[in-house]
C-alpha cells in the first residue's frame, strides 16, 4: 500500500466526540467494572449481595444509557460512520489493550481459577466469592469460575444485544435474531443447567450440541446421564437427535443460521458484544484456504477423539450390552464411509477438486486410525489414551482456540474467528448448508455496483462482492446468515432467503439486462 493510501484511511476524524450523557454513562459503567476488578484484587466487600448487584447493575446501566444516547435522534439506518477511524474498532491502542485484557482474563479463567478466588476446601474469595450469593440463589451452591463466566457472558449478550437492537432498529430480521440469542443464552445456556443442578440433575444445556459440546460423549457425562433415570435418558436422546436429526432438518430448511446466529451462545456473543469488530475479518482467498483446512481438521480431531472416548467407555462382552467396542468401531467406520460415499455419488459436481481430495484424505486418516486400533487394541487406545486425546482437545480447541483466540482477539481478528476457523459444529452445519439446503443469499440481477460494503462487513470473511458483482447467488458453507451484508448494501442487491433448490447455485456471465442474444449465446456455450 502506498503512503498516500494509508493516509487516506487513517487521517479521518471521528464523527463526533462523546456527548455529556455518554461520558456520564461511561463513568457509571466503569465504576461497576471497577467493583469487579477490586473483587479480583481480593478486596473483601462487606455486603456481597449489595456490591455484586451494584457492580453488575452499574455496568448494565452504563452500557444501556450509552447505547440509548448514541443512537437517539439519529435516523434509522446504517451506523458505520467512523468505524475505521476509531482506535477501538480499527486495531488501535484501545483495541490492543482490550484484546490483551480479555486474553489475560481467559488464561486466568481456564488455567488459574485460584487467582479468581476459587476455593475447593474453604469459602470462595475474590470475584468468585462475590458471585456466591447469586449462585446460591440460582443453583443452591457456591459459585465456580464457570458460574462467574456464565453470568458475565449472559449479561454481555443482553447489554450489547440492546445496543445492537438500537443500532439495527430499522431491520426486523436483526432485531428478532437478537431477541432469539438472548432467549437461548438466558434460558438454555444459563438458567436451565443451573436449575437442573439445584434439582440434583445432570448438567445439560440443550443448545450446546455435539461436536461443539465435545464433552457430551465423555465418560463422566455419560455416567451422569445414565445414572439419572428417565430424565438422563431424555437428555441423551435429545443430544443424539440434535446432531443427527434436528439440525440436518433445520439446516435444510433455513441454512445453518438457525443455529449459528439464532441459537448458539458463541454466535450470540459474537453478534452482540462482537458486532463492532465484524469488519476486521480477513477477506483474502488465502485466508479462505486456511479456514477450510483448519476447521475441517478440527472436525476430524473431534471425531477421532469422540470415537476414542466412546470406545474406551464401552465394554467387550456382547452379552452385557449389544454395543461393544468392536461393533462401535466398525459402525463408526461404516457410517463415515457411507456419508462420504453418498456425497461423492450425488454431490461431487458441487465440490472443488481440492475439497474431494481433502475429504478422501481425511476419511483415509480416520479409517486408518480405526483399523490400526482394531488390530492393536489393548492398552493404549488410538495410540494415545483416550482421556489424553480429550484433554488435549479441551486444552487446544476448547479453551485456547474458542476462548483465548476466539473471544480474546475480537478487537484484532474480528468476532467470528472461532466460528470461522475452529468450530466443528459450524463445519458440520456448513457442509449441510453447502450441499443440502434451501438457504442462499440471492443476488438481485444487475444492480451490484461492487462497492464492497458487503465484503467489508462480513464477519465470516466471505468476499460477498465477488459473487454479487457477477450476479451470482452466495452459497457458502461458512455463511452464518447474520444478514448484515444485505443490510449494508446501498443498492438492495442481497437477500437472505430459503427458496427452491433449483437455480440455487447460478452463474451468469453477463449482467442481467444486457442483450438477450449475448446472454443466450454465452449460455449455449457453457452448456
Amino acid at each position: 500500500m502506498s503512503k498516500l493510501e494509508r493516509n487516506m484511511a487513517m487521517t479521518g476524524e471521528k464523527p463526533a466526540a462523546l456527548s455529556k450523557i455518554q461520558k456520564i454513562s461511561s463513568a457509571i459503567g466503569l465504576i461497576g467494572l471497577s467493583i469487579l476488578i477490586l473483587a479480583i484484587a481480593n478486596v473483601n466487600f462487606p455486603d456481597k449481595t449489595l456490591f455484586l448487584s451494584l457492580g453488575l447493575g452499574l455496568i448494565s446501566l452504563g452500557t444501556i444509557v450509552f447505547s440509548y444516547d448514541l443512537y437517539k435522534g439519529k435516523q434509522p439506518g446504517i451506523k458505520n460512520d467512523g468505524v475505521w477511524f476509531k482506535s477501538m474498532t480499527s486495531r488501535g491502542l484501545f483495541a490492543w489493550i482490550t484484546a490483551l485484557g480479555l486474553t489475560f482474563f481467559y488464561i486466568v479463567l481456564y488455567w488459574y481459577p485460584q487467582y479468581l478466588g476459587l476455593n475447593a476446601d474453604a469459602a470462595n474469595t475474590g470475584i468468585i466469592g462475590l458471585f456466591d450469593p447469586l449462585s446460591k440463589l440460582i443453583n443452591g451452591g457456591p459459585a465456580s469460575q464457570w458460574f462467574v463466566y456464565g453470568t458475565l457472558y449472559t449479561l454481555a449478550i443482553f447489554i450489547f444485544g440492546y445496543k445492537f437492537i438500537k443500532k439495527y432498529r430499522h431491520n426486523r430480521y436483526e432485531v428478532l435474531r437478537t431477541f432469539s440469542v438472548m432467549f437461548f443464552q438466558l434460558g438454555f445456556a444459563f438458567l436451565i443447567p443451573e436449575i437442573l443442578m439445584r434439582l440434583n440433575q445432570p448438567y445439560f444445556n440443550p443448545a450446546n450440541i455435539w461436536p461443539l459440546n465435545y464433552d457430551f460423549f465423555a465418560g463422566y457425562n455419560l455416567d451422569s446421564l445414565f445414572s439419572s433415570g428417565t430424565i438422563g435418558m431424555v437428555m441423551f436422546a435429545f443430544g443424539l437427535l440434535s446432531i443427527f436429526v434436528i439440525s440436518p432438518i433445520l439446516t435444510y430448511k433455513y441454512g445453518k443460521r438457525w443455529y449459528c446466529s439464532w441459537v448458539c451462545g458463541c454466535g450470540g456473543l459474537a453478534e452482540t458484544a462482537g458486532d463492532p469488530y465484524r469488519h476486521l475479518s480477513d477477506k483474502s482467498v488465502f485466508s479462505w484456504r486456511v479456514e477450510r483446512w483448519v476447521i475441517h481438521s478440527v472436525l476430524v480431531f473431534v471425531t477421532v477423539m469422540t470415537i476414542a472416548v466412546i470406545y474406551s467407555y464401552l465394554g467387550q462382552n456382547p452379552d452385557e450390552f449389544w454395543l461393544t467396542k468392536d461393533v462401535f468401531l466398525w459402525s463408526s467406520a461404516g457410517f463415515l464411509t457411507l456419508v462420504f460415499g453418498l456425497i461423492m455419488l450425488f454431490k461431487r459436481q458441487e465440490l472443488a477438486k481440492d475439497a474431494k481430495y481433502a475429504a478422501a484424505g481425511y476419511l483415509v486418516v480416520i479409517l486408518a486410525i480405526i483399523g490400526l486400533n482394531y488390530f492393536n487394541y489393548q492398552q493404549d487406545i488410538f495410540i494415545f489414551p483416550s482421556y489424553k486425546l480429550r484433554e488435549t482437545y479441551g486444552f487446544l480447541i476448547g479453551a485456547a482456540f474458542s476462548g483465548v483466540i476466539g473471544v480474546g482477539f475480537y478487537p484484532i481478528f474480528g468476532n467470528r474467528v472461532w466460528c470461522r476457523f475452529g468450530c466443528p459444529m459450524a463445519a458440520v452445519l456448513g457442509m449441510q448448508q453447502r450441499l443440502f439446503s434451501k438457504f442462499r443469499i440471492t443476488t438481485n440481477g444487475g444492480q451490484c455496483i461492487s462497492c464492497g460494503n458487503c465484503s467489508t462487513y462480513c464477519e465470516m470473511g466471505i468476499d460477498v462482492r465477488a459473487y454479487a458483482q457477477k450476479g451470482e447467488n452466495i452459497v457458502r458453507s461458512s455463511c452464518v446468515g447474520c444478514g448484515i451484508c444485505a443490510s449494508v448494501c446501498p443498492r438492495g442487491v442481497l437477500k437472505l432467503e430459503n427458496d427452491s433448490l433449483e437455480k440455487r447455485v447460478n452463474s451468469e456471465e453477463v449482467t442481467l439486462g444486457n442483450d438477450t442474444s449475448l446472454m443466450d449465446f454465452i449460455k449455449e456455450k457453457t452448456e
Binding site: T11, Q75, Y173, G452
Partner: protein, 436 residues
C-alpha cells in the same frame, strides 16, 4: 504471428470488464493504462472511505494477484496522445506503445459551467481518487472546514452532503430544480427525498442557482453568492456536483470523432475500425431506445465491456441494453427504478403514487393509459426483484397484472413489514375514482 495487443485506456468498470472478458475469450495480450490508480477500484464507494465505513483497500474488487494470474498488465501512466494512423499511443514519460485494438474507457470528469471562482482552492468535485484525497485536505473536520456549500442536486451532490455531515460539517445544498433530482424523479417522489434530506440537518435550498464563488487574495474560497437572492454564504468548501462529462483530453489532437463524448456506432466502434469507446466516455450516434446518448451508469459500463469483448474476440456484436434500470441511496433511503418513470408523465402515461406516512417508503408506477401496459416503477425504501420486473417488462404485462402480483417482486429482508396490500388498495381506489 505477432500476438494481438489490446490496449485499454482507463481502469474503471468498463475497461476492466472488457479486459476480463477478452481474457476469458482469448489469449491476446492485454494492457490497461490508468493515471488515476494502480489498481481497479470501485468509484461508487469513494464516499465510504471518507465516512470511515471502509478503507481504501476494501474498494478493490479483485485482490492484487488477480491481474498477474489472468495475465492482464496494469500500467500506471498518463496517455498524452493517440495516433490512430500508426496504431500507437504516446505516454507522458515519452514511451510509445503499439496496439492492434484500442479501447477508450476514459470515464468522466466533473462538469463546470464557467462560474467566476470555480477553479479556486477549496472548490472541487467528487469523482476521482484524487478528488477524495483533495477532500481530505479541504474538509478533514469541522474546524478546518466550518461550512460547506454543495452546488448541484444530483447523485454525487447528495453523497457529498452525507459525507460531510458525518464529520459534523454544516452543509448548504443548492438545487436548481424545484425539488431534489426533479429532472429525473417525478415531483411527488422528489419531495419525499427533500424531506429526508432536511431530516438529516442539511440546509436544502431549492430553485437556487450559484452566481459566483467569492475568493480571498490567495485564490482561496471565501463564500458563494446565490443568483436568485444575492445572498452571500461564507464557506470553506464548495462542492461542484453539477454533473459529469466525458473525459477526452487525450483525444484533442486526433482525428477520432467526438461530440460531447467519443462518437460510436451500435458496435461501440469509433470512426476507426480498431478503436472502440465504452463506458462513460462513449456517445451513441443515435440514442438507443429512450436512453441518453451518454450513459454514465455503473452497469452500462459493465455491459459495454462485455459486448466489446465479444467483438474484439471475433464475434462482432451490437450493444443492445435491455430495459432501463438503476438504483441509488439518498442518506438512508434506497431507491430502485426499472423501466421508465419520467419526471413528468409523457402523453398517455399515468403515474400511480403511493407513499408511507413516515416518509421513508414510496412507490410510483408508470403505465400507459391507452393500452394499460406497465411502463416502469420507482421504489423508495423498498427493494424489488430485478429479474421478475425485467420479465414483466419483456412480457408487456398490464398494470392490473402487475398490481395483483406485486408481492412477487418484494426483495426486502425477511420479517420486514410488507405494504403490497396497502399499495394495491390505494392504487385501486385511485383508478376507480378516475373511471367513476
Amino acid at each position: 504471428m505477432v500476438q494481438d495487443h489490446v490496449i485499454i485506456i482507463g481502469n474503471g468498470i468498463a475497461g476492466v470488464t472488457a479486459a476480463r472478458h477478452i481474457r476469458k475469450l482469448s489469449d491476446k495480450r492485454i494492457t490497461i493504462i490508468s493515471s488515476e490508480s494502480e489498481y481497479f477500484f470501485s468509484r461508487t464507494a469513494l464516499m465510504y472511505v471518507y465516512m470511515g465505513h471502509m478503507q481504501w483497500r476494501h474498494l478493490k474488487p479483485y485482490e492484487d494477484h488477480f491481474w498477474t494470474k489472468n495475465r492482464i498488465q496494469l500500467l500506471k501512466a498518463y496517455v498524452t496522445s493517440i495516433i490512430p494512423e500508426e496504431n500507437r499511443i504516446k505516454l507522458k514519460d515519452g514511451r510509445q506503445i503499439e496496439y492492434t485494438q484500442l479501447i477508450l474507457a476514459t470515464g468522466s470528469e466533473p462538469q463546470k459551467f464557467g462560474w467566476s471562482g470555480q477553479d479556486a482552492k477549496g472548490v472541487q468535485g467528487l469523482y476521482s481518487k484524487q478528488d477524495l484525497e483533495l477532500l481530505e485536505k479541504n474538509a478533514p473536520n469541522s474546524e478546518v472546514c466550518k461550512k460547506a456549500v454543495i452546488v448541484g442536486g444530483g447523485l454525487i451532490g447528495i453523497e457529498l452532503a452525507e459525507m460531510l455531515s458525518t464529520r459534523g460539517i454544516p452543509v448548504t445544498f443548492l438545487v436548481r430544480e424545484k425539488h431534489f433530482w426533479n429532472n429525473v424523479l417525478p415531483a411527488h417522489d422528489a419531495k419525499i427525498i427533500d424531506e429526508h434530506i432536511r431530516k438529516h440537518n442539511i440546509d436544502l435550498r431549492l430553485n437556487t442557482n450559484l452566481e459566483e464563488v467569492i475568493t480571498y487574495d490567495k485564490n482561496q474560497v471565501k463564500a458563494v453568492r446565490l443568483k436568485e437572492t444575492d445572498e452571500v454564504i461564507s464557506c470553506d468548501l464548495v462542492g461542484l456536483t453539477t454533473g459529469v462529462k466525458p473525459r477526452l483530453e487525450m483525444l484533442n489532437q486526433t482525428s477520432i470523432q467526438t461530440n460531447r463524448g467519443v462518437l460510436v456506432n451500435r458496435f461501440l466502434e469509433t470512426n476507426y475500425s480498431d478503436i472502440y469507446a465504452i463506458g462513460d466516455c462513449a456517445e451513441q450516434q443515435n440514442p438507443i431506445d429512450q436512453r441518453p446518448p451518454i450513459e454514465a451508469v455503473w452497469y452500462t459500463g459493465k455491459m459495454m465491456g462485455e459486448t466489446v469483448a465479444q467483438t474484439i474476440c471475433g464475434r462482432r456484436m451490437a450493444y443492445k441494453p435491455g430495459h432501463w434500470f438503476n438504483s441509488a441511496k439518498f442518506f438512508d433511503i434506497e431507491y430502485q427504478t426499472y423501466g421508465w418513470v419520467f419526471p413528468t408523465a409523457k402523453e398517455n402515461h399515468q403515474h400511480l403514487h403511493w407513499s408511507h406516512r413516515d416518509g421513508s417508503k414510496a412507490m410510483t408506477i408508470n403505465f400507459n393509459q391507452k393500452n394499460n401496459q406497465f411502463v416502469g416503477i420507482n421504489t423508495f425504501g423498498m427493494r424489488i426483484r430485478h429479474e421478475v420486473i425485467n420479465n414483466w417488462l419483456n412480457e408487456k404485462k398490464s398494470i392490473l397484472e402487475v398490481l395483483q402480483q406485486l408481492e412477487k417482486v418484494n426483495f426486502d429482508p425477511e420479517f420486514f413489514k410488507s405494504y403490497e396490500k396497502d399499495i394495491f388498495k390505494s392504487f385501486q381506489k385511485h383508478l376507480q375514482k378516475q373511471e367513476g
